[in-house]
Amino acid sequence: MHSPVAHAAAATHPTTVAASEGRMEQFVYDDAIVRKFVLATIVWGIVAMLAGVFIAVQLAWPAANLGLEWTSFGRLRPLHTNAAIFAFAGNAIFAAIYYSTQRLCKARMWSDRLSNLHFWGWQAIIVSAALTLPFGITQSKEYAELEWPIDLAIAVVWVGFFATNFFMTLKHRRERHMYVALWFYIATIVTVAILHVFNNLTLPLAVAQFVSSGTWPSGADLMKSWPVYAGVQDAFMQWWYGHNAVAFFLTTPFLGLMYYFLPKAAERPVYSYRLSIVHFWSLVFIYIWAGPHHLHYTALPQWASTLGMIFSVMLWMPSWGGGINGLLTLRGAWNKVTADPVLKFFVVGITFYMMATFEGPMLSIKSVNALSHYTDWTIAHVHSGALGWNGFMTFGMLYWLFPRLFQTEIWSRKLVSAHFWLSTVGILLYVLAIYAAGITQGLMWRAFDEFGSLKWPEFIETVTVLMPMYWIRVLGGLLYVTGIVMCGINAFMTWRNRPAKYAEVVHSAPALSAVYVDPPPPPSMLTSNTDWGKAVETKVLSGWFHRVWERKPFKFTVFTVIAVLVASLFEIVPTFLIRSNVPTIASVQPYTPLELLGRDIYIAEGCYNCHSQMIRPMWAERKRYGEYSKPGEFVYDRPFQWGSRRIGPDLAREGGRQSHDWHVRHFENPQAVIPQSIMPSYAHLLRQTIDFDAIQHRVNAMAMLGVPYGKAVREGQAVELAMQQAREINEQLESQGDYRGLHDKKIIALVAYMQRLGTDLTRPPPAPDEPAASP
């Protein structure tokens, strides 16, 4: 598949070839590492999708969680999302990067040892995620749930192993020009590192406790941490991260994949290389601004939200430009598409990219968002992206790679076709049903009857109506998993037919000469001007500067980082520095020690996966939930718990709405209180006892973060306060119903937190000398 075009171009343009004048060198590509990542992609793909199906069943039939605390929806949903993003898509992009970077650089990966450290390190991280999330060890920030020790490991593997290996390979490349796919990889590597570090800045309990008392927390508390940001700022950081994780983990690397593997499979160059350059820079520049569209109508400042909306809408252009560029690559080759399942996967994948990137900006328009936010519409959107775009691009790549990696024909082309059709139908069932669910629920939440009352005042009515659609989702998901299993079987059988020993092709190419001089800028077209004017004209306006960067990975990387950082700073810095952004409300006080503990139970159980704590300033919401949420109410919320989906009702003003007895009965068995409820049972919280000794350290850690806890930080004080409040709540509980002796059980802490939620606004501010943290 030696391209005649390539030869012609190279032959007629000796200038670019002349740039690489070093001596001839021989090298062998490392395909063993690609095979490993390919295997991991398939295995984790099956795990991630099975977890998805499992929790999808739970939403239609709650008893499916087996009644175990470890397998309830709130704990497993993060496992599903993390596995899909970081395990399935993650291993897929590593396979793509390791395969294509070597070829585009005409060089083996710089260090086999780093490649393997990267591979095994990443798998270890995934396993540790699977071992912590079901036990409620979580930061509760979506797609950044993993706790600090794992976060540190991620940073080491990503920067220390992966990035080092990648950039050193670039440095030792034997092709001067960096093909556009490599730019996308560069943007991915640097931006993900930045996002990861800044969103995960936390104070671990272990550190706080060790500093203040010289002791270590025990058990799961060893991994507990709280973000250095609170409330609105935490929300802002989280969605700056969350959105850009979509951009730089699920979009840019897959575009790199597209720009490499699509031309390979189609055996023709990308439609327009110019367009790919615009595509790259506009994505890098625009994406990073769009995060706030996840927080429309929240306590986020208006200007930030509007900015997020404008930049999101601008994303339409580059995304569609890129998608069209991909599809037009197949111009004149559509007959191949009908015959080649690899191309079919790519075509459908790119189509989903265009659909998802059309829908994304649309959802970021405030008036659309008013309807869609917190509903299943968002869920449908992300699945058309993840299953359609990421999944199909991955499968296309895998099927293209199998014969090359295993050096034999693919075992069954029929099975590939079956996989293609099964997953296509699976996605369509999933997405259509969940769109319908989202729009239905959104409309029901805001519907009024002729008297101006909510038409469906009981939240549960808006849940039961979704059940048929939830079952269709289960079916769609099952079809999709079956497809991946078929892919796994095909991979296994192809692998079995591999040659006794893989042939290792020795390639040769000249090394890049050590002394490299940039080509001179074009002659100026200006006849009379200052030297400065001429320089601008020849170096900047002519685009000469960029062509030079394209041959210089480090300069290129620096400018990508600048693009990302400038945008981030313009958004983030004002939110952090302007005091008026977060008006402090005098009556808003820190959580009591017991409530703080209850809040950590809420976080560990993953209640945020089903409940929001953010009432938007809209009439329907104020009627349903009460006064809308103010930024100043969240100044002690570490991490923020605004949530992103209302599978259950908003809880921002839950305090005082129900009796203690109602809550305990409801937590013990929701279906006993609301028969159609799909909330899991939390009966274990009625059995597990509160670790009162740990409370003091929690309060002290919060105080270190600047929470005014006053006297409560004195040794023993927090415990005293917590026990006293627990006794009071228990007395009231016993007087309301049949529960007895729960005063030292975790459920009391959770009820304390529930009853506190949203009540500060209507409470009189404390007298100036009153100890801040008393209940």
Binding site: M1, H2, S3, V5, A6, A9, A10, T12, H13, S100, R103, L104, E175, H177, Y179, V180, A181, Y260, P263, K264, E267, R268, P269, Y273, R274, I277, V278, W281, S282, F285, I286, W303, T306, L307, P403, R404, E409, I410, W411, S412, R413, K414, P499, A503, V505, H507, V540, L541, S542, G543, W544, H546, R547, F570, E571, V573, P574, L577, I578, R579
Partner: protein, 64 residues
Amino acid sequence: MSELMSAMQLTTFPIVALVLFLLAFAAVLARIFRAGSRAEMDRHATLPLDEPIPPTSTQHTRSH
């Protein structure tokens, strides 16, 4: 710093942002419309295809 930032109009930020963005965009356009000959672009575009065929790889595979 807080005082300084508070004194600024908040709308300044988006405007500065937009200007920066437009400048960057103009630079990229300059790159693609002026720089490089068409032939050079073509060579860059065909880089992924510029690879000798490994002897064992099969482009077209039969089904079993």
